[in-house]
């Protein structure tokens, strides 16, 4: 039963990590604008210029 102490301790530690991640993500400002990304993702990719494809043949094709 004494292993419970270790288990509880570890679980609280993991939870604290998640809390820290949550606080950091809110602070980073990614949730300030929750409308534009939904529109932005619908834009088409811009066409790759022909000169750059010649020079960068080793690049993976865009999705």
């Amino acid at each position: 039963m004494s292993v419970l102490f270790i288990l509880i301790g570890v679980s609280i530690l993991v939870a604290i990590c998640f809390l820290a991640a949550f606080l950091w993500s809110v602070k980073s400002g990614q949730y300030d604008d929750d409308y534009t990304p939904s529109v932005r993702m619908l834009f088409d990719d811009s066409k790759v210029k022909s000169s750059s494809t010649k020079n960068n043949n080793t690049l993976k094709p865009k999705k």
């Binding site: 039963m1 509880i8 939870a15 809390l19 606080l23």
Partner: protein
């Protein structure tokens, strides 16, 4: 609003007005507000005696905040009035420039707990998001701690004694203790700060009972843990904080999504004449941009801050500050929005943004002249006693359970303090009327405020004006009869008609197609309301107006007059007249039929002669009350007479709705219970009216009236519903059956559900009446 005496009695304010804010607010944080250029950027109007300013207050979350903010004048007498806009989280303040400075006003707001988010550029956006982020951090921390405490409390609930071994129970209890600390000091801090700041002003806001419930739960739990008597109720305590915070967040989101901000999206019935490449064009004021050149005529309002370019400006700021003496402005000077031009037309360049909400604010603030239909107060008389009643119930519960079963004290008292929610009582009216204002706006009826809706619901008599209200202003229906006019004379007539905003002048001006030519200077322009006007153009002294007006100067120049005519007189010689045929708006006869079904009496008043008697009787029936040759004063007297008529039951007075022209019928519009100015996109904005209706929708008056009636019913129903909720909730809470956590969920849920309900009901009612 609460009368002076009630306010004093309940909240125990001193009889002597004076500085109520206790303590000094020492800070240099707001020193930059002493700078003149900063002040000019922030204020909306400034004179030696009065300054108008609007602040954004992101901390506004509850209805009791509104009470405190609207009573700023009792805290500091230098503040004349303050009005809040809950949905936009703004406060509009008018203060006396001589007695208090902008900096001190901001310091006062910060001191009572509502520090404004001040923007010199666009930083107001940043301030509000940082405030919102704080709230999210609090929710995150509270959620983390609450969930872990719940987890650590499960063994306490489910085990049957194995816990005493190995000190597990002790460990869990102390872990709970430490996890609960950040919730108390960080997450719940908002409630405590708000309650304390309210108490400092000797005012119990709704955060006070919540703060008390939290303190009570925590105190009891800490006592139990430290003295070793038990495990405490920290799961409950942190749960209360967490659910209240989440509930507030949901409430805010809901209120935001029902935002009835009437800027940008709604119809705002103000038009303005813009000069584009030398051609005049009438556009809605919402399309106006900085740098546009606009022309403002006699009695027209300047819709945005603008710089004078040409013409003699004599600006009447009575709309903004109540000062009737016109202010002379020179070329290059800035003229504030809301000023009215008195005299011949002037040209201006727009320097600021058009703010519909500011203009509506001024319209509502016209307390200098017009005290009827004030904005309906958020505070219903009953809510004054709400928190006091709640504390009484709480104390009674405490005593009762102390005697009978002390174990139930904590759950019972804390649930009682949390479950009762005054928000729905106060806000159901706001949201119903807000939704209705929006629907009215969609149908081109722009009301001054929600108080007008209640008056509309009571209307039983309608008085129509003829010219411009029942008739349209179509330029094609003009014929000129008389001595043919030379080009010079035609140009002169064109230029004098463009100075006036009377419907008949505008018809003639449009018919003469003067918008395609540059204006000629007009001297000594003078307009006589309802009669005519005179001016000197190109050395010609011209008078134009009704037959009676012309006959004043040259007796019997005009013989019997039939029909709507505008006579022209040049250098005292009667030249001829413009015949304007009356074109009635569509749908008038259907309107009259449905009005009689609603048992509403109709009357028609006209300043014109009685040539239209037969036509009007065709529309309204033989029994209608018709009066011609009415001067503005006679129209006012007629309405007074109608209002004095008593019906049965005795004491019941006529409630009169008047539809007319905002400028010429100003007195009658003010006298009637509701005055609606019918406009066709003019720049004339008369504060005498309570609502502005676009001419094309006059025939929908019957629908508007029945919609207003149903709105009142919805508000009453929601009020009863929220009282029922409180009674049911409290009856469960006092018995100790209701867990405080469930109470913390129910409280915001109730206000959200009532808000949703009233919005749905009012939209449904509008759809049934064909208004959506």
């Amino acid at each position: 609003m609460l009368s002076e005496n009630d306010l004093c009695v309940y909240y125990d304010f001193d009889k002597n007005p004076g500085i109520k804010a206790k303590g000094k607010f020492v800070s240099d944080r707001f020193a930059y507000l002493d700078d003149e250029s900063v002040k000019n950027k922030l204020v909306q109007f400034s004179s030696a005696t009065q300054t108008n300013v609007t602040f954004s207050l992101p901390q506004m979350h509850c209805s009791s905040c509104i009470f405190l903010l609207e009573n700023l004048h009792r805290i500091n007498a230098a503040i004349t009035t303050s009005q809040t806009n809950f949905q936009r989280k703004e406060v509009f303040i008018i203060f006396d420039t001589e007695k208090i400075s902008l900096r001190k006003v901001v310091e006062l707001l910060a001191f009572i707990g509502y520090e404004p988010a001040i923007s010199l550029k666009d930083t107001v956006q940043k301030k509000t998001t940082s405030f919102n982020k704080q709230q999210i951090y609090k929710i995150g921390v509270a959620g983390f701690c609450f969930a872990n405490i719940m987890m650590l409390s499960f063994p306490e609930y489910f085990s049957s004694g194995n816990m005493e071994k190995n000190g597990l129970k002790e460990t869990f209890t102390w872990l709970n203790f430490f996890l609960s600390v950040p919730v108390l000091f960080f997450s719940a801090s908002g409630f405590f700060i708000s309650a304390i700041k309210g108490l400092r002003q000797r005012f119990l806001n709704i955060d006070a009972p919540i703060a008390l419930a939290i303190i009570v739960t925590y105190a009891r739990s800490y006592y139990e843990i430290i003295s070793g008597h038990g495990a405490g109720y920290l799961d409950s305590g942190t749960g209360i904080v967490f659910f209240m915070l989440i509930g507030r967040w949901f409430q805010d989101k809901t209120y935001d999504s029902f935002s009835f901000d009437r800027d940008y999206l709604s119809y705002f019935p103000l038009g303005v004449t813009v000069m584009q490449q030398g051609v005049e064009k009438n556009i809605p004021v919402t399309q106006l941009q900085k740098g546009n050149r606009i022309i403002i005529r006699n009695h027209e309002m300047i819709p945005a801050d603008a710089v004078l370019m040409s013409g003699t400006a004599s600006i009447d700021y009575s709309f903004v500050s109540g000062e009737n003496t016109p202010v002379q402005k020179n070329m290059g000077e800035l003229i504030y929005a809301g000023g009215k031009q008195m005299g011949s037309a002037i040209e201006l360049v727009v320097a600021g943004e058009v703010s519909q909400s500011y203009i509506t604010q001024l319209w509502n603030n016209d307390v200098f002249k017009n005290k009827k239909n004030p904005e309906k107060s958020f505070i219903h008389p009953w809510s004054k006693y709400f928190t006091l009643l709640l504390f009484t119930v709480g104390i009674v519960t405490l005593i009762f359970w102390w005697i009978n079963d002390p174990s139930k004290i904590l759950p019972a008292v804390s649930s009682v303090l949390i479950v009762a929610c005054p928000c729905s009582l106060l806000l159901s009216a706001t949201f119903t009327y807000g939704n209705m204002l929006r629907i009215f706006g969609k149908n081109k009826l722009y009301l001054k405020n929600s108080g007008v809706i209640e008056s509309l619901a009571k209307i039983d008599t309608i008085v129509f004006d003829k010219t411009g209200t029942l008739t349209q202003n179509k330029p094609s229906a003009v014929i000129y009869q008389g001595t043919p006019l030379t080009n010079n004379e035609i140009v002169a007539v064109k230029n004098i008609t463009r100075q006036s905003a009377h419907p008949l002048s505008k018809i003639i001006a449009a018919w003469l197609q003067l918008d395609k030519e540059p204006p000629v200077a007009v001297q000594h322009f003078k307009e006589y309301a309802g009669k005519g006007m005179e001016a000197t153009v190109n050395n010609l002294h011209i008078k134009m107006g009704s037959a009676n007006f012309i006959n004043q100067f040259n007796k019997a120049a005009v013989t019997h007059d039939t029909g709507t005519h505008v006579h022209v007189m040049m250098n005292n010689v009667h030249m001829g007249r413009f015949d304007i045929s009356n074109q009635y708006r569509t749908g008038i006869s259907e309107l009259v039929k449905s009005l009689s079904k609603q048992k509403i009496k109709c009357c028609v008043l006209s300043g014109d002669n009685d040539a239209e008697k037969e036509n009007l009787q065709n529309f309204f029936g033989k029994n209608v009350d018709l009066h011609f040759y009415q001067s503005p004063q006679q129209k006012l007297e007629f309405i007074k007479k109608l209002q004095a008529q008593t019906f049965s039951p005795p004491g019941f007075r006529g409630n009169v709705l008047m539809l007319g022209d905002g400028l010429n019928d100003a007195g009658a519009l003010m006298q009637s219970n509701v005055g609606i100015a019918v406009s066709d996109n003019t720049a004339q904005f008369s504060p005498a009216c309570d609502a502005i209706l676009d001419g094309s929708n006059v025939q929908q008056i019957n629908k508007f009236l029945s919609f207003a009636k149903s709105g009142k019913k919805i508000v009453t129903a929601s009020f009863i519903l929220s009282i029922l909720y409180n009674i049911v909730g409290l009856s469960f809470a006092v018995q100790g059956i209701l867990s405080p956590m469930v109470a913390a969920i129910l409280m915001p849920a109730s206000s959200i559900s009532i808000v949703l309900l009233v919005t749905l009901l009012s939209s449904l009612s509008a759809r049934l009446k064909g208004l959506i």
